[in-house]
Every structure is written in structure tokens, then in C-alpha cells.
């Protein structure tokens, strides 16, 4: 994988409805924090990577031009990477590749979204061309169809899947409560979630992520620089990314090959053979609670078709064998372009013991993940406390 790479700092905005700030001000909030956290200045940075959702969501084409000052990119090379929901993982991977290749020593990675300014669903409908695949539109139906496909494929009973999805939602919302930067911070019971109105069956209101504004910045550095600059870096142990064909019906979304293959590659690089046992915490991309169930299987964290059983027995709950999304996950905070990079930042906080109230005690090895494209891409980044 080239040279060793570490995370030497992270910065997140307060996520939520941020119409108190212009978009460049929001980006600056995260960038300012990441420099404070890393204890370096923009002069120490060799290049910048940025990503967000497409122009339709941003209200301005190529928003990295608009943000140039906030990104501290003046006088430096800039790369833009975007893959829809998995943008944040792609941005992290671009920065990691850049440092691992030896072409740069310190790279600033930033991703952001001001989802409340535009219309997220309208943007989602432009992810697919308008004549072959979009008729009934939008992300909620796409991911509900995926969840039902998974339930149908493994003959998972509606009530059992419902119970597991509710537990995922309760745990995530408890995480959001413990995370001062999370957008949604409410205490919910299993009953609140199970009895919430149907959005796109089987998905109900509290199974769905919010519309959030937020930005995230992460600084990646080479081994030499990381050891010089940072007392406790989070080391990149392995990464994996996979894409799939464009037509959604062409391959199984229940046994999702891009998730399976991306995580296998990351585990191989990290030398992980039993991820459930070896990982201490996972930041799984969970914009829909049912989708997290499918991801737990495709990420190899439990056997295929058995995620509901594992969730119901508490494996992925706080205090369980592998706590998932202690930050509240995407279910509580979804600035889409940034969501995948927030997963990376949260994994870094966990393995460096800096996660505060939502810290998983003694976490040393963490998985972060995001999916994107037209249900097409999956990216995984594994961070650890030891090189």
C-alpha cells in the first residue's frame, strides 16, 4: 500500500441546520478546528482534497472555487473527488493515496454539505439519468427496495427485521445524545421508532437520516511527519473501495458485492482475519437503520442473513462485542458529502481516545465505511492506534 499514513488531526462543525452561516464560513469552522487539533498551520500542508455532493445540491458549480479561501488552498495543489454518499471515503482515500505514494507528506482532506439550502431528494433524482431508471424517484425508495430485497433473499421475518432496525435506531440516537456535534439529539424508545409513520415501507420515520448541514476536515501525514507532529496519531491500517454496474437491477443489492469486496481488501491490508473479534468499534454508514443490518453482514461482521439475531442479542450495541456508530452515525447526522469523512474522523477519535462522552473504552482498532453512487460504490477505511 505504499508508505504508512496517519491521521494527525480532525475537525468537525456543529452539525444541524446551519443557516446562521454562509457556506464558506461553515467550511472554515471545520478547517479552523482541524489545524487547532493537529497543531500545525496551512504552511505545513502540501495539498488539499475536497468533495461534496454534485452542483445541484450546492447551488453553485464547483463549490471548491467558492471555498478556495476557506480550504486554505491558495498556492497549493487541489484535487476534487466525489462519489455521492461515499464521497467522504473517496476524499480520505485520495489523501491517503497522495501521502502513501510519497508525492506529498501532509494532506488536508475536507468534505462538506449544506443540505438544507437546496433539495436533497431533487439532487438524488439527478444521480440517475431521467429516462431509464427514475420513475418513482429518490433515495428513500431505493434503499427501502434494497432492504426488502435483503429481507426477501434471506427469508427474514418482517417483525424480526423491524425489531432489529428499531434497536439500531435506538442505539444510534443514544449515540447522538452523547455526541455534542450530532444533529439529532433525542432520546427515543423502541416503541417510538416501531410506531412512527411509514415513509417507504418497511422504513419508518426514525429509520431515516435527517437533512443536515456540516463539514469535516482531516489531516493525513506520512510516518515521519506524523511522528514529528503528533503525540498520538491514528494509523491507516487498510483501505478498500469497489464500484459496480450502473443498472440497479443487474446485480444483487442484498448480497452487496461492492461492500463485501471493499471490506475484504481493507481487512487483508490491515491483517484482520476475524473482524468481529479484532475490531473494537465500527462507524458503519447507516442513513437507514435497515440498511445498517445489511451492511453488518456485507462488511463480514456477522454471518449472512443473521444480522437481526446479532443485533437483537446486543452484539453491536453499546457495551456489546463491537459497538456500532457510537457517534450517532448517519442516522443522527447526514451532511451527505461529509458523512463518509465524518466516519473516518470518528474512527480516528476512537482509536486515539479523544471521542469524549461517546468514547468506546480502550478502542484500538476501528472501521469506517460509506456507500454511494447510484447504489454502486462502497469504501472502507480502517484506523488503528498502533503503526
Amino acid at each position: 500500500m505504499g508508505r504508512a499514513v496517519a491521521v494527525i488531526g480532525t475537525g468537525q462543525t456543529k452539525h444541524g441546520r446551519r443557516d446562521d452561516l454562509s457556506y464558506p464560513d461553515l467550511v472554515r469552522e471545520a478547517v479552523k478546528k482541524v489545524f487547532e487539533d493537529a497543531g500545525i498551520t496551512p504552511r505545513d500542508v502540501d495539498g488539499v482534497v475536497y468533495g461534496s455532493m454534485p452542483s445541484m445540491m450546492e447551488g453553485v458549480a464547483y463549490n471548491h472555487f467558492y471555498f478556495a479561501d476557506a480550504l486554505r488552498v491558495v498556492g497549493k495543489p487541489l484535487l476534487r473527488t466525489e462519489t455521492c454518499g461515499s464521497t467522504g471515503q473517496s476524499v480520505a482515500h485520495t489523501a491517503i493515496h497522495w501521502v502513501a505514494s510519497g508525492m506529498a507528506d501532509v494532506i488536508l482532506a475536507i468534505a462538506s454539505e449544506k443540505e438544507n439550502e437546496g433539495d436533497a431528494q431533487a439532487t438524488m433524482m439527478t444521480i440517475l439519468e431521467p429516462f431509464l431508471q427514475v420513475v418513482i424517484g429518490g433515495a428513500p425508495i431505493a434503499f427501502s427496495l434494497q432492504s426488502r430485497e435483503w429481507m426477501g433473499y434471506y427469508h427474514i421475518d418482517d417483525a424480526k427485521a423491524r425489531e432489529a432496525a428499531s434497536i439500531v435506531s435506538v442505539d444510534s440516537h443514544d449515540g447522538g445524545l452523547a455526541n455534542p456535534l450530532a444533529h439529532i439529539r433525542v432520546k427515543l424508545s423502541k416503541e417510538d421508532i416501531t410506531n412512527a409513520p411509514i415513509i417507504t415501507y418497511p422504513v419508518r420515520f426514525y429509520d431515516v437520516c435527517p437533512i443536515s448541514d456540516g463539514a469535516c476536515a482531516v489531516i493525513f501525514a506520512s510516518e515521519e511527519k506524523a511522528k514529528k507532529i503528533c503525540k498520538k496519531p491514528a494509523w491507516v491500517k487498510g483501505i478498500g473501495f469497489r464500484g459496480e454496474e450502473y443498472f440497479i437491477g443487474d446485480s444483487s443489492k442484498a448480497v452487496w458485492q461492492s461492500t463485501i469486496e471493499a471490506s475484504k481488501e481493507a481487512y487483508k491490508e490491515a491483517g484482520i482475519t476475524n473482524p468481529l473479534k479484532e475490531l473494537d468499534v465500527a462507524e458503519v454508514y447507516n442513513p437507514f437503520s435497515y440498511q445498517e443490518l445489511m451492511f453488518l453482514e456485507c462488511l463480514g461482521l456477522c454471518p449472512p442473513g443473521e444480522a437481526p439475531d446479532y443485533v437483537i442479542k446486543g452484539t453491536f450495541s453499546p457495551g456489546g462485542e463491537l459497538p456500532c456508530d457510537p457517534s450517532g452515525g448517519v442516522l443522527c447526522t447526514n451532511p451527505i458529502g461529509a458523512a463518509g469523512l465524518i466516519r473516518v474522523a470518528e474512527a480516528a477519535l476512537q482509536v486515539t481516545g479523544k471521542a469524549g462522552e461517546h468514547q468506546v473504552e480502550g478502542a484500538k482498532l476501528a472501521l469506517s465505511h460509506a456507500m454511494g453512487g447510484a447504489m454502486q460504490f462502497n469504501g472502507v477505511t480502517i484506523l488503528g492506534s498502533e503503526l
Binding site: 431528494q121 418513482i136 427496495l145 417507504t200
Partner: protein, 160 residues
Amino acid sequence: MAEQKEKPRKVAAMGMVPYEMALGPTWTRFFEGFKEKKILGTKCNKCGRVLVPARPFCSRCFEPMEEWVEVAQEGTIVTWSYVNYTYFGVTPDMIPLIGATIKLDGVDCGTGMWTQIGGFDIKDFELVTKKVKVGARVRAVWRRKRQGNFRDIDYWKIIE
């Protein structure tokens, strides 16, 4: 900084761009088939897959898919969802609706997101959960007037 009295405000903005998107020969012919109540797929002569919508080339073999096949108008539900919420693209007159992916007989892929189940009182959710199941059989019901797009199939009817 001096104390600021005004609440930060927003400005309205709008971007609208009309497009003329080329269908190309394959998708033109595919939608012409709809006008004649035909569902046309193309077959890859290397891997043998028949795909709907018809494809100009095989995504896996990268070979042209030039052999046209009229496929069955019956199939099996792979997955479905009940939409009872409005958001962009889903207006109040459209809901509730049942989106589904259907594997047509003899076709090697699912339909994706252009197929809807109907033909009974779908406002009755209890009835929906009784009738609509993964594995249930369905048949295409065409509109009387067809224009060569996906809306030409009014809905997919559950058959026993």
C-alpha cells in the same frame, strides 16, 4: 466584533436547465417496442445474458448486444416498497404507491426502479401486505395511449 442585531438572512436562488438527451439507437428501439406493447431486451452472444431495458453493449463482456429478444410480460417480485410520503418527485396525487423490482421470466436482471404494483385498492395497507410479497407473480398492464416511455406500462398486476 460588535454585537450584531440582524438575524443572518438567506437569498432565494434557482437554477433550471432544459436538456435534450440522446437515447441512441438501442433505447430508441426499446421504447418504440413499448408503443406496440412489447418489452424488448437484447442478448449478449458471449455470456448469453438477456437484459431489460435493452443495452447497446454488455457491461461484463464489453461486446455489442445486437440480438433483439421480445421477453415475457410476466415475472416475479424481487423486492417492493410502499411509499406513503411526499418528497421531491413524489407528489400527493402519486401516493400511496408501491415500487417494485421485478425479474421478468427469461430475463437475467431485475427491472430496477421503473416498475409499480397496482390494480387493487393500494390505500388498504393490510391488503397490500397480504397480496404483495417477494416471490409473488405479476403481469404488465399497458395504458391505452402509449408514448414510448416507461409510463406506457400503467402498473403491474398481481396474478395468482
